[in-house]
């Protein structure tokens, strides 16, 4: 679940308040507030919306614990999802050039499992 809002990065733009499908955040005076964490679905879409790279979601759907802001900054994980997506790149930047491989790789995996099962001793 949403686990960290790094205060010195947050610009209080409220993009996360608007983007969250579970309405987890409230707008606040200085920065958004995580007001309804029980509605967090660990979808990372708030991170994608945060151009300040100030949010960090714990991948455990039941845990809101987070490393310290300094550790998060060192980890390289702040903003990683946004960069991996190429979320703010121009539409012709080629950020989805590998996407066509999804279907073939999925089928290849299914074929591997089927062959292995058929030949099991």
């Amino acid at each position: 679940m949403i686990a960290a809002l790094v205060e010195d990065r947050c610009t209080n733009c409220n993009a996360c308040v608007r983007a969250c499908p579970g309405f987890v955040f409230d707008a606040g005076a200085d920065r958004p507030v995580i007001a309804r964490i029980e509605a967090c679905q660990t979808c990372y879409l708030c991170e994608l919306a945060c151009e300040a790279d100030a949010l960090w979601v714990n991948p455990d759907e039941a845990s809101a614990s987070a490393p310290s802001p300094a550790e998060l900054a060192r980890s390289g994980q702040l903003g990683q999802i946004r960069r991996d997506h190429g979320w703010n790149l121009p539409l012709d930047a080629g950020q989805l050039d590998d996407y066509r491989l999804l279907g073939p790789l999925l089928n290849e995996g299914a074929d591997i499992a089927a062959r292995r099962y058929a030949s099991r001793g």
């Binding site: 608007r18 983007a19 969250c20 499908p21 579970g22 309405f23 409230d26 509605a39 679905q41 660990t42 979808c43 990372y44 879409l45 994608l48 919306a49 979601v57 714990n58 991948p59 455990d60 759907e61 039941a62 994980q77 990683q80 999802i81 991996d84 997506h85 190429g86 979320w87 790149l89 121009p90 539409l91 012709d92 930047a93 080629g94 950020q95 989805l96 050039d97 590998d98 996407y99 066509r100 491989l101 999804l102 279907g103 790789l105 999925l106 290849e108 995996g109 299914a110 591997i112 499992a113 089927a114 292995r116 099962y117 099991r120």
Partner: protein
């Protein structure tokens, strides 16, 4: 509920996912004024936003399309409709490229662009942009609570709650379109927290019936700590916690694969080993599915080398087939003024007794959205719109309890309803006795809700979500009991054969009393 905001529109779309967006876009492009009211936020709501739907994609070569439809008809096991299949193939082919001004289509590897598969966050962002450009009024964080009807019982809009202010909103429109998605019963399935069947409950309170609710359940494999996309796990080997390899039929075995995993998970922890994964996968997973990789990297796990615990996340009617019955070729429901699209509508027309799989399901969401949106716009254009419409709210549970209001333990209720539908102990071996026990459990919760539940503001939104999941579970279990055979996704341990005499759809409905009946094709009667 007294409304503080009243809007008027030609078409009200309830929902904010893929089908809702395509419906709103089609209606607005046809000249209708459109309000789209979503519980979440258009762009991040629903299971498409975290997914990556491939669409049923067949070029307009008549032989290829005929062949694709024949294959799909065989999977539909007697309950599909080839004309509907042809329509959705065609609409998908023509309209998916419409998102190009807002979507970063990638390369197809041979100089063109790859269109048929799209990544969820970028796709839903593009649909939001397209809807805004078409002039749709988008109300994010505005869950609908109840439909409104005129004196004749026709739907004339809806009322709901604005989540930030907790004020009541009211939208009046001659046509309303339900596109609230499927119901995953809060299983934790990625992106499905808001998919609680709200639209099914609202429509049923207006008298709508449903179809295909017996076709489920299904499950999605993921690491035990959170649901992800399943791409990395297709070649997985499985081990118990003593390191013994488990004998699990492969994913292509469908129900047998899931059943074997579910039974192993009842005995103890199951670990996945991805060392057999396709050689090219580790190098490209980050650029295909960044979110899937984050689930491991942030726990310091090398998913290709280390075994990790897995579990199954229920998919409810998102993978299952059922939803509101569609009575004509324009996606009308059995209630005047109310249309349905996407996973909120039954997908049997194109999927029959099986899940359509991602590709057919995505094509259905796009196409049924467009069909319903256009039809609603046309109907609104010819309907007379009186200056002031008096309307009554049709919501019952949570709003107008049958007896004295009492506080209810909602967390326990959600748990019980979820396990009645998806619990490994019974859902993997559906039989009459087990289904009847589950139905009795869920019925008792329904009675508590209908008798005593009442709330306002955001608490009402959550209460209605709980009630909608409970109602959806009742319809699913009643339909599963009534279909005394196995067909497609519906597997009965006590009736493993498919009965040729039961190659018909099954309708279900009702709130206080749930009913089912066979939906036999209408035979042309001779006038007496």
């Amino acid at each position: 509920m007294i409304a503080s905001t009243i809007l008027r529109a030609d078409v009200l779309v309830i929902g904010g996912g893929m089908a809702a967006a395509w419906a709103a876009i089609a209606a607005a492009q046809a000249g209708a004024s459109v309000v789209m009211a979503d519980k979440g936020a258009v762009g991040t709501s629903g299971v498409t936003a975290t997914g990556g739907p491939g669409h049923w994609w067949v070029s307009p070569d008549p032989a290829l399309r005929r062949e694709a439809i024949e294959r799909q008809e065989a999977k539909a096991l007697g309950l599909g409709d080839p004309e509907w299949m042809a329509r959705i193939i065609d609409l998908t082919w023509r309209h998916l490229p419409d998102i190009a001004p807002f979507y970063p289509f990638g390369s197809d590897g041979s100089g063109g662009r790859y269109v048929q598969g799209v990544r969820g966050p970028e796709y839903m962002r593009a649909l939001r942009s397209l809807a805004s450009a078409a002039g749709v009024t988008i109300l994010d964080h505005h869950p609908a609570i109840e439909l409104l009807a005129d004196a004749d019982g026709a739907i004339v809009g809806a009322r709901g709650i604005a989540l930030d202010s907790e004020d009541v909103w009211d939208v009046r429109a001659p046509t309303t379109l339900m596109a609230t998605g499927g119901c995953a019963f809060r299983s934790g399935l990625l992106g499905s927290h808001g998919n609680t069947g709200d639209g099914l409950l609202m429509a049923a309170e207006a008298g709508a019936d449903l179809s295909g609710m017996e076709f489920g359940p299904s499950w999605s494999l993921s690491p035990a700590w959170s649901s992800t996309r399943t791409l990395p796990y297709f070649a997985a080997r499985f081990f118990d916690d003593a390191g013994r390899e488990l004998d699990i039929p492969p994913p292509k075995a469908g129900h047998a694969h899931l059943q074997a995993l579910g039974r192993a998970m009842q005995r103890g922890p199951v670990l996945a080993d991805l060392s057999d994964a396709p050689k090219a996968l580790p190098g490209v997973l980050r650029s295909i599915q960044p979110l899937t990789l984050a689930a491991f990297e942030r726990r310091g796990i090398d998913l290709w080398r280390e075994r990790f615990p897995v579990r199954l996340f229920g998919e409810g009617t998102i993978r299952g087939t059922g939803g509101l019955r569609v009575i004509d070729d324009e996606c009308r429901t059995s209630v005047p003024g109310l249309f349905a699209a996407g996973d909120a509508a039954t997908r049997e027309l194109v999927a029959g007794a099986s899940s359509g799989g991602g590709a057919v399901n995505a094509a259905w969401a796009l196409s049924s959205g467009r069909i319903a949106g256009l039809a609603a716009a046309r109907q609104a254009a010819v309907s007379r719109r009186p200056a002031a419409i008096t309307a009554r709210g049709l919501g019952r549970v949570g709003l107008r309890p049958r007896r004295a209001p009492q506080p209810l333990e909602l967390a326990a209720l959600a748990q019980a309803v979820g396990s009645a539908v998806h619990g490994y102990d019974q859902a993997f071996q559906r039989d009459k006795a087990g289904l009847a026990r589950s139905a009795a459990t869920v019925d008792a919760h329904w009675r508590g809700l209908a008798d005593h539940a009442r709330a306002g503001g955001r608490a009402l939104v959550e209460l209605r979500a709980q009630a909608a999941m409970t109602a959806t579970a009742r319809w699913s279990l009643a339909a599963a009991l009534a279909r005394g055979e196995s067909r497609g996704l519906h597997v009965r341990e006590d009736a493993p054969a498919t009965d040729p005499a039961k190659a018909h759809r099954l309708l279900v409905g009702g709130l206080d009393r749930v009913w089912t009946r066979a939906d036999h094709p209408v035979t042309q009667g001779v006038a007496a």
